[in-house]
């Protein structure tokens, strides 16, 4: 039974333990708060103790940790981009990694201010540094997962001529990676006291739409083209529709 009185009120919820949508984000335990070393330490921490990463992102080492997260995101995106480029070969071997890495960072950068505003509107005590850290974590976790999909993507890219099929497969992998990245971001928002899930979901929709449009703005990522960037502006749904229409069905042999 609680022993509260007007002179002894219950403690106010701290930012770190505030409910988000009715779900409390528990404080990290001592093991999770262990210092994060170099790149290997960050990779391990991102997967096994994300609450610890979020905690350290609000501390004095934030700049170094954000740098590590962005490095992971850049390397992961570039490596996955090389695998995407192997489908068409030629200049796509360098163009695809450049476009995917730049597109991902650009997407994160233009969505970041809106995340900060949404976080504040939902009652979060997040500072801009916290938001930068969370977005860096989102991108790092996404690209880490994308990289782990690379062997599967490579096997398929060597076995099909269909741009639509490969594009769909990359999209599926990207969506799975985004789901896990979003979970990290959600934990961060909850930890910083966001009281509404709605704002988080709304921002995620914005982020996904921007990223999908980026695939069209930077096309081709999978197929071939005469120019590095497209000459014509297009909405991503229209571009995908055209890509699927142009894709000739194959009649594979079986035995």
């Amino acid at each position: 039974m609680n022993d509260y009185s007007p002179s002894n009120p219950p403690p106010l919820p701290t930012a770190a333990a505030t409910a988000s949508g009715g779900v409390l984000e528990a404080e990290p335990n001592a093991a999770e708060l262990a210092p994060i070393g170099g790149l290997g330490g960050m990779l391990e921490a991102l997967l096994r103790r994300p609450r610890g990463v979020l905690h350290h992102l609000s501390g004095s080492e934030a700049a170094r940790l954000i740098g590590l997260l962005l490095l992971i995101a850049a390397v992961g995106a570039a490596l996955y981009g090389v695998v995407v480029g192997t489908f068409s070969g030629g200049i796509q071997l360098w163009a695809a990694p450049v476009k995917i890495t730049a597109g991902l960072f650009f997407c994160g950068a233009i969505c970041l201010p809106s995340l900060y505003v949404f976080a504040c509107l939902t009652g979060s005590v997040a500072r801009i540094n916290d938001v930068v850290g969370m977005v860096a974590g989102l991108l790092a976790l996404m690209t880490l997962l994308l990289f782990s999909f690379a062997p599967v993507a490579w096997v398929f890219s060597q076995s099909t001529q269909s741009v639509a099929a490969m594009g769909s497969m990359h999209l599926l992998f990207w969506l799975i990676a985004t789901f896990f990245g979003a979970r990290f971001l959600y934990r961060g928002m909850a930890r910083l006291g966001a009281r509404s899930k709605g704002a988080f979901y709304f921002w995620m929709i914005i982020f996904v739409l921007v990223a999908l449009q980026m695939t069209t703005a930077l096309r081709p990522l999978v197929g071939k083209a005469d120019t590095f960037l497209p000459k014509e502006k297009m909405f991503f749904l229209q571009h995908w529709g055209e890509a699927f229409s142009a894709d000739k069905p194959t009649t594979p042999k079986t035995d």
């Binding site: 096994r48 880490l144 997962l145 999909f149 599967v152 096997v155 099929a165 194959t250």
Partner: protein, 245 residues
């Protein structure tokens, strides 16, 4: 930081050697010990069991077409299992902690290898039966592909492989439940691993075709168009044909 697997109740001392009965029984305490302790002989035992078990089964089904096809299929079945485990090692290793099971990359790879080992052992035990069935069938000649014999062999393969796969995955689920202490986490991890392994495994199977062979085509390790198309395109094409006409 100790993983939940390590901090769980300490299992019975695991045999240092590769103990076949423990694996077949799905003795989770022993298997948990295997995951936590490094042992090269045990790893070699798993690899050997996969190569021999799946190899013998492959030889049994491939020899219907010709002895050489039997040799090829004996090499290809273990290759599919090992390449699937290798190709998805990183993915499976990342998915486990993200879904709540704090295992290392080595432990996740070994857990999957153990389930593949069990699968290969079950397949090996069915090999004499399959070989007997094949031996009693008329030889594969042109037109067999539409005959009763071919349908019988196909159906029996589906049955045997489904049984072996199901048993191996049930055992893996039991092991994951023991490691995580949660049915929900174990089920999530298993589903994620299955989805990834299915995706890569079906494509590797497609690339490494043929397994039975065809009487109208030459006996060869890989078809000249091995890298043309994929399983899902073939499936989509078949569905399109089915619903168009």
């Amino acid at each position: 930081m100790p993983s939940p697997a390590e901090s769980a109740a300490s299992p019975r001392p695991a045999p240092t050697r590769f103990a076949l009965p423990a694996l077949l029984r799905g003795d989770v305490a022993v298997l948990q010990g295997w995951l936590l302790q490094r042992s090269t002989p045990r790893l070699i035992g798993c690899l050997l069991a996969i190569v021999l078990g799946a190899g013998i089964y492959g030889a049994s089904i491939g020899c219907w077409r010709s002895p050489m096809q039997g040799v090829y299929t004996a090499a290809k079945l273990p290759l599919i299992l090992l390449l699937t485990a290798l190709g998805n090692a990183l993915l499976n290793g990342l998915l486990a902690p993200l879904l709540g099971l704090n295992l290392t990359l080595r432990q996740t790879s070994l857990a999957i290898l153990l389930s593949f080992t069990l699968l290969a052992l079950i397949l090996a035990t069915f090999s004499p039966l399959v070989f007997f069935a094949v031996w009693n069938l008329p030889p594969m000649v042109a037109g067999t592909a539409r005959g009763t014999a071919y349908a019988l062999i196909q159906a029996s393969q589906v049955g045997v492989i489904a049984f072996a796969g199901l048993t191996a995955n049930v055992r893996l689920l039991q092991l994951l439940r023991q490691l995580s202490g949660s049915q929900a986490v174990a089920f999530r991890v298993l589903c994620a691993w299955l989805a990834g392994n299915l995706l890569l495994g079906t494509q590797l199977t497609w690339i490494l075709r043929p397994f039975f062979g065809s009487p109208s085509l030459a006996v060869e390790f890989l078809r000249p168009d091995a890298l043309r198309g994929n399983f899902f395109e073939a499936l989509a094409y078949s569905l399109r044909v089915l619903f168009t006409y």
